[in-house]
Amino acid sequence: MLQYTIRRLLSLIPVMLIVSIIVFLIVHLTPGNPAYLILGEDSSQESIEQLEVQLGLDKPMVVQFFSWIGNVLTGDLGQSVYSSEPVTQIIIDHLGPTFSLMVISLVLTLLVAIPTAIFVVWKRNTALDPIFISISLLGVSIPEFWFAMLMVLCFGVAIPIFPVAGYIPVAEGAINWFYHLFLPAFVLAAVEIGLVARMLRDGMLESVNQDYTRTAKAKGVKESIVLMKHVFFNALIPTTTVIGTTIAGLLGGTVIIETMFTIPGIGQLLIDSIYRRDYPVIQGVILFIAAIYVLVNLLVDLLYAVLDPRIRYD
């Protein structure tokens, strides 16, 4: 297992290298000049050129790439051209809100999706099942930004029971922290709930007709225990894959949701940096998101071995 983990971690190096090349190219091939944006419209040509030299933008792109990637390898993501702060520090400062948002939506997703799926499978021969399929499909299909606006209109404007903007760190009161994040987290979770519940339901329905389920019933075990023990744990294995991609999807979803609910997280940082052509920050944030993405996937692969004793990585 340890050997496998190390091997997988090493295989992440080429992946991250390719990601960094793509990120660098996208950022640098997009039109727009950071020096011009920093100095403003009525700046002189000389001062722009002077700033470009200062930022290293006058050098060939290959040289710029290698000096950047060299620094990245030593853990230095560079400095923001906008605020001159180190990029690593900026990312750390914006991590809290995004992480909070992801944790709450993930917990919310599992808390709703798992009982729903179990209940639907328990009532599998009733009209509940087609209704469930329609709702879960609706949940997966709704665009996040539209649903976010709908929620803001409903629970922020028409019935103002939830705040629609702002973020309060958990250190300043857990209740207030949760209260401010509930609506955005719910919007993020809506899509994932449909996906996870549907996946779990499919897995459980497959498991319900397996021979081992019949053995459990023949032992005289209660239907509820048969479902929650024998059926559920077998269905959990395919569902874990979906939960893994869900976590990654949440990270992407935060870009839109943080902007809509003005939450100062990684997503909003990314959008702001793009407006400012703040190359080092954009590169740093995307690299960071990619790293989280691949690590979550690695974690899911390792989790398989825990959930399914037949899977061994040695």
């Binding site: 021969n125 007709n209 021979d211 053995t215 023949a218 024998h230 294995i237 004793p309 037949r310």
Partner: protein, 339 residues
């Protein structure tokens, strides 16, 4: 102990109602071994599962009949009362040991679940009981095996574990649904031997469902022959094998390879296919494939007729007519071989 009266089990499928079990009556006495034989699709597995109502509902329905077990009709019981019988008084072992154990739980967990579902017992006592059961079914080094997962066992060993699970509460009746079909021949013999030993030790009555006449000959006191959802012949094992009085059983026995037969002789298979159970043929269900068939067979649906000594057969031919017809067929065949 168990008495099944005119049991019908229907399967509601897209192509119509399949009469999988169509009016079956039989009984099992305490400590007895009853074999149920029949070809694939004869309804024997559905019958076995319906005794514990383990057929998935839907499609299965039980429109008629009674299953009387110790003075209670199991078809009238509520799910909760039925659960107290399942695994406790009646236990079952299944056809495919490879898939009948849950792959994600340890053997010990699955065995102790069977024990603790019906007996209030501490974990420690249950573990001791589990160890004892594994020892009883002949699993070497049971202590360390408790912590193994099903995939770490061979097919034969898994069937032993499943037998141990079935024995957990010392059931009065053990239903074995093709327990040896998925195993290779040496393992089959071991499992059958084990079942005999268990019966001696625990005094359990056994219903063994199989398509293997050899298994029945070894194990059963009495035999029921099933065809298209019905019992067509019933009797003590010796009578069924040596005094067959029903053309289907006769054809079935003849289709077996024999050690004393000429190696160049072809096996005598039964012509045709089992009938469609959605829309069975008029008259006797076996008539389209029966070498004994008479005109009357296409009209009259025969019921089980007592032939003495508990021997019953569903055929309109009387004993003498049957013997006469049998000799005729054998004569014709012999002439065919000589020519």
């Amino acid at each position: 102990m168990l008495e099944v009266k005119n049991l019908k089990v229907h399967l509601d499928t897209a192509s119509g109602i399949v009469k999988a079990v169509d009016g079956v009556s039989f009984h099992v006495k305490a400590g007895e071994t009853v074999g149920i034989v029949g070809e694939s699709g004869s309804g024997k597995s559905v019958l076995a599962h319906s005794l514990m109502q383990l057929n998935p509902v839907p499609p299965a329905t039980y429109p008629q009949g009674e299953i009387i077990f110790e003075n209670r009709n199991l078809l009238d019981l509520k799910e909760k009362e039925l659960r107290k019988i399942r695994g406790n008084e009646i236990a079952m072992i299944f056809q495919d040991p490879m898939s009948s154990l849950n792959p994600v739980f340890k053997i010990g967990n699955q065995l102790m679940e069977a024990i603790r579902t019906h007996q209030s017992m501490s974990r420690q006592n249950a573990e001791e009981k589990a160890l004892e059961l594994l020892k009883d079914v002949g699993i070497p080094d049971p202590k360390s095996r408790l912590n193994d997962y099903p995939h770490q066992f061979s097919g034969g060993m898994r069937q032993r574990v499943l037998i141990a699970i079935a024995l957990a509460c010392q059931p009065k009746l053990l239903i074995a649904d093709e327990p040896t079909t998925a195993l290779d021949v040496t393992i089959q013999a071991q499992i059958l031997e084990l079942m005999k030993d268990i019966q001696k030790k625990y005094g359990t009555a056994i219903i063994i469902i199989t398509h293997d006449l050899g298994v029945v000959a070894q194990l059963a006191d009495r035999v029921l022959v099933m065809y298209s959802g019905r019992i067509v012949e019933e009797g003590i094992t010796g009578d069924i094998f040596y005094h067959t009085s029903m053309p289907y059983t006769w054809s079935l026995l003849r289709s077996l390879p024999r050690l004393d037969s000429d190696i160049h002789q072809r096996l005598k298979s039964i012509q045709g296919q089992p009938p469609n159970l959605v829309d069975p043929p008029k008259g006797c269900n076996f008539s389209p494939r029966c070498p004994f068939v008479t005109e009357q067979c296409l009209e009259v649906d025969p019921s089980l007729v007592d032939r003495g000594n508990g021997h019953r057969a569903a055929c309109i031919l009387s004993e003498s007519e049957y013997e006469e017809r049998k000799h005729e067929i054998q004569d014709i065949e012999r002439e065919g071989v000589e020519q």
